[in-house]
Subunit: 414 residues, 2 copies
């Protein structure tokens, strides 16, 4: 299939009522765009058999590839199978092979399969089942009138696996004439990035766009051309200039996380890290340990949410009494204690006020970061953060990891 | 304004390319529905002045209230102000009051304001500015031809604050004839919930719908009637029956998180908790400390990602050597050590295999949970989780918190 027109249908009354966020259509749109497939319509429709049938039928009229997400669960309001069957004029029946596999899945989890789940083993004559290695809902690939319908479960990690591993290999999409990359920066505002890149942000191809994100400001460089190679060639000089101008702030590219980049730097030099957290409450450790292989370089962490816990870690009572827990000396002492206690090469620490109330006379958003390593300790006091509890935690973690990243690379810190 | 028709426009090429997920339109749709406002159209449009202008103009033709999210940043590709001005035929100018406030914001963060940010102080004659206490982008409320346009920044926490605190009080939306609530359950599959509620899930008003979520299965009970009171009255008997049938699995309602519910139970009895985490890597502590006021009942935690760190916590080497780190005895010992070390009433622990590789011959997804408290220790070995690293961490935390919740309430554990 060459350069087909695709349409994304997201199913679920919860999406119209704000009960759930539709992450899938954005992810799919991005994946399709990278493969040279245009998405002209994105529709959200509720759990209503007639409206869903009409939506699928209309999509089949105007598009080549219809991707339906959601509505494959076992309950009465999961109607995607019924609606697709209606739209193509077929009748679903239980497929014995699928049923046996479904029952085995439940048995493996020491549960009896409720009878209601039998509909998850349905097929129609024009549908081929798509495996789901991480859930109970099989997908459908329906070939009808020279067009395709791909139905996949709503949970994002199930949908993504099914799309990449099961659906795409069967679709044989044409080559893309589109190339793009996203550069991640930290420590510079979107306005300043925009000024530095003013020569590029006005042009259409290659295009340069900036986005304020929780992990910093992202810069996307994209180009279109008849072939992917030509598009990449078009983007190359612009990308080089963007990388040159923003060099002090860049920490990664595309799907990379800053924790992954840090993990790679630590692995390369055979070093390890440990952390001590006050206001971030475990989010530093959680962020680091989201990286596969973290056990090779992450020694452990302590969430010292009370002064007693900080003393337990190894911070002297006098340091706390003299400076207060929200202070540079306490951040410094926590990092040193974490490094020592866990026997790591590096120690990281956060202390501050996550809110909603002020603490020890310090305002919400006031934070101190410390990184200690083989060559000494660096302490930072970022500007007082605006935002709510979760945002303050996230910004503190991002600031700490950026500081650590710079020290690991031997770069000057702000 | 009574029962207006609203339309949501989400702005950003990144939304069409999969660079960013549109959480805002779902949240807004839900909020509007609860206020009796119907949303007929949800549109995603890119950072293109002409297409954005056309979208806003079309929305103004067919809807009473147009809510535009995103495109209020300082850079050239932030075009919402320009497009709205085009659509209503006015010209933006820098407002001196807004400019002074913007400059003060930068000064407070010890940064000079880049000249590019001046456009964030623009207004048009028919626009009233909307304050943004947590960011630099002001919103606009535009009154034109008896209709309203509300433009708000894209970052979700900025948009939500602005919508609730600034926009809604100025809109005077009519009373809703809609009532709904969402009940959160854990420990039961969606199929089993569907079977227990089969008598209700087929009916339209009141409606009962089930959704599989990361935190368990949600059940939404909703009803429509001429007034909110009548709708609530219609829903009440169905809700009572749903609560009766699912009682052993229910942990909360609506915006409540399980960490909040646990925090309230601990506060009520003047007790505290501490945790020790292996595979969850800090996510238990992070989840608990997302709750405002957590410092009143959360003593601290330790992320023991290595056998040495587990011994540091107080787990005996013999326990690890004999059973392996992924074992019931180690989970039990970790919970006891966390309770003892932090001087808490309760100790929580997780150990297991987050993946991607197996560990000590145990498969990915194998986990052990332990909760120890004044009356003893409970250990659980959930069925081996399907899914990827992050999902396994989240499911483990949910399972642990549900187990803790049941023990706090004195309920039997599975």
């Amino acid at each position: 299939m060459k350069q087909p027109i695709a349409e994304i249908v997201s199913v679920g009354t919860e999406l119209l009522l704000g009960e759930l966020v539709d992450t899938n259509s954005a992810w799919l749109a991005g994946d399709l765009r990278d493969r040279g497939v245009f998405v002209y319509f994105k529709t959200v429709v509720g759990d209503n058999r007639q409206r869903l049938r009409d939506t699928v039928a209309r999509a089949l009229d105007r598009s080549d590839l219809v991707i339906v997400g959601g509505g494959l669960g076992p309950t009465d309001d999961d109607l995607t199978r019924e609606a697709i069957a209606d739209a193509v004029g077929e009748t679903p029946q239980v497929d014995p092979t699928l049923l046996a596999r479904l029952e085995a899945l439940f048995a493996a989890r020491q549960r009896e399969m409720p009878a209601i789940n039998r509909k998850q083993a349905w097929l129609i004559p024009s549908a081929e089942p798509l495996d789901n290695p991480v859930g109970t809902a099989f997908g459908w690939l329906v070939r009808t009138r020279g067009k395709l319908v791909v139905a996949m479960p709503g949970p994002p990690h199930e949908m993504k696996r099914m799309w990449l591993d099961q659906a795409l290999p069967r679709l044989a999409l044409g080559p893309a004439g589109f190339w793009h990359t996203t550069i991640h920066t930290l420590g510079i505002g979107e306005g300043s990035v925009g000024e530095l890149l003013a020569a590029f942000t006005g042009q259409a191809n290659p295009s340069v766009a900036t986005y304020a994100r929780r992990h910093g400001v992202d810069v996307r460089v994209a180009a279109s051309a008849p072939t992917p190679e030509a598009a990449a060639g078009l983007a190359r000089p612009v990308l080089a200039e963007v990388e040159r101008v923003l060099a002090p702030y860049i920490w990664g590219r595309d799907a990379e996380t800053i924790a992954q980049v840090i993990g790679r730097l630590l692995t390369d030099r055979g070093q390890t890290v440990a952390c001590a957290e006050s206001l971030t409450g475990g989010l530093v450790a959680d962020t680091l340990t989201d990286t596969p292989g973290a056990s090779g370089w992450f020694r452990g962490g302590m969430v010292t949410y009370t002064p007693e816990a900080k003393r337990l870690l190894g911070v002297r009572a006098a340091t706390i009494d003299k400076n207060g827990v929200v202070s540079e000396p306490v951040a410094r002492a926590m990092a040193a204690a974490a490094r020592r206690k866990f026997g790591a090469d590096w120690g990281l620490a956060t202390t501050g006020v996550a809110g909603p109330a002020a603490l020890e006379g310090q305002p919400v958003g006031r934070t101190f970061l410390a990184v200690t390593g083989p060559a000494g300790t660096t302490v930072a006091a970022p500007p007082t953060w605006l935002g709510e509890r979760r945002q303050i935690k996230e910004r503190t973690v991002n600031g700490l990891l950026m500081l650590f990243f710079r020290l690991l690379r031997g770069e000057p810190t702000p």
